[in-house]
């Protein structure tokens, strides 16, 4: 039976996605109450082990979001994140974690509507596989 509410951990960079999430809030774009955001300076600060830690602690889903490639506040931090997250995503099945429960994406500070879509869509996806 699918759970009605899921808990998703979001690792958001301060400069783009966190600001985008704020913008979605300021515009009162309704989202499911599934997401708990951890604010970081950059997605390059997200250790893949931290993502796995979240799964081990019982997170239903983990979302990583930063500046669009090329727009990183620290020039290249999200390139490192992209490589790390891509590898992590491919490793998840070997660890017995459905990769549908993990998502990494790029949302800029001005993309409030996109942020709300990301949260809605990812929550729906996690609910389906949990």
């Amino acid at each position: 039976m699918p759970k009605t509410e899921v808990k998703i951990i979001g690792f958001l960079c301060n400069w783009c996605s966190y600001a985008g999430a704020d913008m979605a809030g300021t515009a009162r774009m309704k989202q499911p109450a599934s997401l708990r955001v951890v604010r970081l300076p950059c997605t390059g600060r997200v250790n893949p082990l931290l993502v796995l830690k979240a799964f081990r602690e019982g997170a239903d889903g983990v979302l990583v979001s930063g500046c669009h490639p090329g727009d990183c506040h620290y020039n290249e931090g999200n390139y490192y994140a992209r490589r790390r997250m891509e590898v992590l995503e491919r490793m998840l099945p070997a660890l017995g974690i459905d990769p549908a429960r993990f998502h990494y994406t790029w949302v800029s500070a001005s993309e409030g509507a996109k942020w709300a879509d990301v949260v809605n869509e990812f929550t729906r996806r996690v609910k389906q596989v949990i």
């Binding site: 999430a21 997401l35 970081l40 250790n47 830690k53 506040h73 500070a109």
Partner: protein, 650 residues
């Protein structure tokens, strides 16, 4: 000794999150000795209550549950600093933008808020007191873009005694305003009010003007930018050129006249207009016979000043700046592809309003005589169509250009002045004339100058017997309208200037859906960006008219002056730090650091890493790259992040 303060933010938070329940839950969290809910924590009484609680209960760590840290983190750091605490022993928990405002179910939102507070408590319990550092400030500003906004910003900053470099990518400053004939609503002559300012820029002792130049690379941070500027080769030695125009007269190679929006023709070597600043010719190699066919050199032969140098190469200069103002202005929406029923550019007498402006201008290619591009005849019936590529969802451009209604009225007035027996028709969606004296102006266009306003869109334009038939709808009368026009002028939407997106990327500032540069906050930081030390002025931030551009430029200049009047800037203490006792000296941290902030230091057995705090920007890349995890980002340590994850999922 931890205190939790839950802001109600009036009803912004309290309507969806039960702040009482959050307070109750917080009281049972580990280390919490005080928890209370306050109506407005950021208000003076609110901050007073926090300070009182800190002093009475001897709090050493504070969790503030309220709005986004991007909103008020600084406010509360100052407040707890005033109470005698280390300002960094604070954690902001976002229960407004990312909780109460996006949820409607009180139980769900409250449960989430409690989770978030628990996360914040766990995090701040592991926070160590930090001391902000300082870095010196380079007292010099860079202004990018030489339109009216850039000119105003440069002059204001320079007048405050601060050296300014003004970089302009074309061969003259003046921007789009220099192309205008008159300005609304005063009908001031655009050149008469702008060109003296342009000359002032050239003569100002604190302004270094660089034309034909573009920003190529940006390093550094607020107070200490290091910027590469490429000065493109113009084949003309600027110091020698006297602006005599002999080269332009004799040049055999024709070239499009960009300044006149191709209403006229220019030469490969030219000065765009007679009031150009600097009054120096420049050569466009892509049109020059010498560079295409390998034979010509006429300009070199005729130049009396010996100013022509075909061997000239691009120069890249690197300069240090403390602050940057971006004033790159706007471009015009290219309507041809999206409005196929308007002829896709095949009818020469369907033109955009900027080109029409050049036909109206005494300094334009026709000397101020309005001539149709097709046959040079003076038009009688002129149709203006508003909102081409603006307020039009069907072409993906929903925003208002904010100036179209006004300049259409202006052009209708000027048309009547030029050709007294002409008739202007204006197709509009709404007349948006909200500025001072604006509505009166659009009404004058109708009452005193006989412009006929038709509310509706134009469906089709097609040629018939030397005229253009404009078929539209009058939505007020509910009728079809057909007008035989001699000339059709389109009020096209505004886009960011060409290359603005690349520049934004270089400066690390974000852009909105249409590519305009994003301000720090729509209400409270209208000229700041999310990158410290970079400010916005004029239409690069969004469509706006001249008064608004000038006002914003003044505001940006004031911010720059304020910033550069400080000798030192406080720097974030949230930088990386190495536990040198455990460092193995692999230097993976040094490899990933984008700022070169990691250096090798000699230790007892070999070398270990050391972070140069003044260079570190606190991205945390090294923290993840370090195999044994002995370099850590203060304020975002592994312990803190793991604790957050564990507690929020508890």
């Amino acid at each position: 000794m931890l205190g939790v303060f839950v802001c109600q933010c009036g009803t912004n938070i309290a309507a969806t999150v039960s702040t009482d329940r959050v307070v109750q839950a917080a009281k049972s969290m580990l280390g919490v000795v005080h928890a209370e809910s306050i109506q407005y924590t950021c208000s003076d009484p609110g901050q007073r209550a926090i300070i009182d609680a800190i002093q009475q209960k001897g709090l050493t760590r504070v969790v503030m549950a309220g709005c986004s840290p991007r909103m008020h983190e600084t406010t509360f750091r100052r407040a707890i600093g005033r109470a005698g605490m280390n300002p960094f022993m604070l954690e902001m928990v976002n229960i407004r933008e990312q909780c109460s405002w996006i949820h409607s179910d009180i139980d769900e939102a409250t449960e989430k808020a409690i989770d978030l507070v628990r996360k914040g408590v766990a995090r701040v319990r592991r926070q160590k007191p930090l001391q902000a550092g300082s870095s010196p400030v380079t007292r010099r500003a860079l202004v990018i873009g030489g339109g009216v906004a850039g000119i105003q910003a440069a002059l204001d900053i320079a007048d405050a005694g601060i050296p300014v470099t003004l970089v302009e990518k074309s061969s003259t400053i003046g921007g789009n305003m220099a192309r205008l004939d008159k300005t609304f609503p005063s009908l001031d002559c655009s050149s008469c009010i702008l060109t003296p300012r342009m000359v002032e820029v050239k003569q100002h002792e604190n302004i270094k003007l660089m034309v034909n130049s573009e920003v190529e690379k940006v390093r550094g941070y607020i107070g200490n930018f290091e910027i590469d500027i490429r000065k493109k080769a113009s084949c003309v030695i600027e110091e020698n050129c006297t602006g005599c125009l002999i080269c332009q007269e004799k040049c055999p190679s024709k070239a499009p006249d960009d300044f006149n929006v191709c209403a006229g023709e220019s030469k490969a070597i030219s000065i765009p207009f007679s009031q150009a600043v600097p009054l120096v010719a420049s050569l466009r190699k892509e049109y020059c016979r010498l560079f295409i066919k390998g034979k010509c050199s006429v300009c070199q032969k005729v130049c009396p000043a010996g100013a022509i140098d075909y061997e000239q190469e691009d120069i890249v200069v690197t300069e240090k700046f403390g602050a940057v103002v971006v004033a790159t202005g706007f471009g015009l929406y290219d309507w041809k592809q999206s409005y196929p029923t308007y002829g896709m550019g095949m009818y020469p007498d369907v033109i955009n309003a900027l080109k029409y402006e050049r036909l109206l201008s005494a300094s334009g290619p026709t000397g101020g005589r309005i001539e149709r591009p097709s046959d040079g005849k003076e038009p009688r019936d002129i149709v203006f169509i508003s909102c081409i590529g603006s307020r039009d969802e069907s072409v993906g451009r929903p925003q208002c250009c904010s100036i179209g209604c006004m300049y259409m009225a202006k052009q209708a007035i000027l048309t009547k002045e030029h050709i007294p027996d002409s008739q202007s028709y204006i197709f509009y969606i709404d007349v948006r004339a909200a500025g001072k004296g604006y509505d009166e102006f659009t009404r004058r266009a109708q009452t005193d100058f006989g412009a006929i306003y038709i509310r509706g869109r134009v469906g089709k334009i097609y040629p018939r017997g030397g005229k253009l038939v404009v078929m539209g709808t009058d939505t007020l009368a509910g009728d079809q309208v057909e007008i035989e026009a001699d000339l059709v002028v389109l009020a096209t939407g505004l886009t960011p200037a060409e290359g603005a997106g690349q520049l934004a990327r270089r400066l690390n500032i974000s852009t909105d859906g249409q590519g305009f540069m994003a301000e720090g906050h729509p209400k409270l930081k209208p000229v700041e960006t999310n990158t410290g030390g970079v400010f916005l002025a004029g239409a690069c931030q969004g469509p706006k008219d001249i008064p608004a551009s000038v006002a914003q430029a003044g505001a940006a200049a004031a911010k720059v002056i304020g910033l550069l009047s400080q000798e030192e800037l406080e720097t974030s203490p949230m930088v990386a730090e190495v536990n040198q006792l455990k460092c193995a000296g692999c230097f993976k941290c040094r490899d990933v650091c984008p700022y070169g902030a990691v250096e090798a230091q000699d230790a007892r057995d070999g070398q270990v890493a050391h972070v140069i705090a003044s260079l570190c920007q606190g991205c945390g890349l090294c923290n993840v790259a370090c195999p044994p995890g002995v370099i850590s980002l203060k304020g975002y340590t592994d312990n803190q992040l793991i604790a957050e994850v564990v507690e929020v999922l508890r």
